[in-house]
Amino acid sequence: MWRSEIDGLRLRFHLAGINDQNFLMRDEETGTFWQQISGRAVSGPLAGRSLVLAPSDELSFALWKAEEPQGTVANDVAAYVPQYAPKNWDVRMRKAPTVLTYREQGMEPRDLVLGVQAFGSSRAFRYGPVLQQKLVMATVGMEPVMIAVGPDDESVRVFRRQIPGVAQVPQFYRVVGQGGAASLEQTVSSALFMDDTTGSGWNFQGCAVSGKSRGVCLERVEAIKDYWFDWRHYHPGTSVY
């Protein structure tokens, strides 16, 4: 997800090709080609420039709707609905061939990872174990982070593990019993995890809903769900958690 403005010029993009299985897009206004995953212009008048990231999440619709009841949803384009991916498309994609493999660090090309590029470092977290553990304390670069799975057991967010105004790096613990469809309705007001420093309860948006830190929010860290080969190709220095 990118902001599509450069120097005040609004850019409108079209699908324009593929580069090592990550697609290229081209803007109408200047004819520049851009790499989708990096937002970087690779050829054309704006070559070398980069789009600004628009932070986004990959969430279940139910969770998103609970968090943003006033939000809007992009409609299907009726003419192309028959061509949209079937519901199990991600399972089928796991078997699709890749031209890049990067069988290293115990990874297979189409292993799903949560990729984090932040604090001057890249790190890939194996997606399956993240979902199983539901709360992961780790570091990216030298910064402590927390990876939290939402009450829907599907959505994942990453936060900087630092409570504003508190020097000590907290540990977080998932609140027992949170999760499932019933709690989605109260996802904004319910504590999904607690910290051991201030004793506050935090929701999936990373904001304290109870305790000493009530009203304070953790810093979000951008992360993407990606295939290992794609993440590794565009983040050659990445480590694997």
Partner: protein
């Protein structure tokens, strides 16, 4: 009718126009195709071809046309005249085909997106969406449709964005 040296010059111009036009058309298709690794220099070359090929095609069409006109003035045999005209057709055909974005033929663009309020949308709760928020404006793009269209140009909270997947 002097066609010796001039005939060879015509053939060269005619053949070159066709070869260059077909090269301009097929080289990017060959390089930028799915399930093939693109080296960085190769990719840049293919993209440069795409960026400048309209001009290149115009030169090829002009070259084929000029060669054919020159040849028609000197050649009376019908089949040979047809052969020279074929060159124009091939080059013109390549020029027209090069205007087609084959990627958008495979994955049609979403065009101007439309939206529905969250509580009126009939998506399964478990269906995954890409969610973005700008200011107070929140929007979700279902991944099943995004994985087809790949690119959606939008404006959210007054900010132009492009949703990609």
């Amino acid at each position: 009718m002097k066609t010796g040296m001039s005939g060879r010059a015509f053939l060269l111009c005619w053949a070159l126009s066709i070869a260059v036009a077909l090269g301009l058309l097929f080289y990017p298709i060959y390089v930028i195709r799915p399930f093939r690794a693109q080296g960085p220099k190769e990719l840049l070359a293919a993209l440069a071809v795409i960026r400048y090929r309209a001009a290149g095609m115009a030169v090829c069409v002009a070259g084929a046309l000029a060669a054919a006109v020159w040849y028609w003035r000197r050649e009376r045999r019908k089949m040979r005249r047809l052969g020279s005209a074929l060159g124009i057709l091939i080059v013109a055909g390549a020029a027209m085909l090069s205007r087609i974005n084959i990627y958008e033929l495979m994955f049609h663009p979403a065009g101007q997106p439309t939206f529905s309020p969250a509580n009126e949308t009939k998506l399964d709760g478990g269906e995954m969406v890409i969610a973005v928020k700008v200011g107070r404006s929140a929007r979700a793009y279902p991944i099943r449709s995004m994985s087809y269209h790949h690119v959606v140009n939008d404006v959210l909270g007054g900010v132009p964005i492009v949703a990609t997947y």
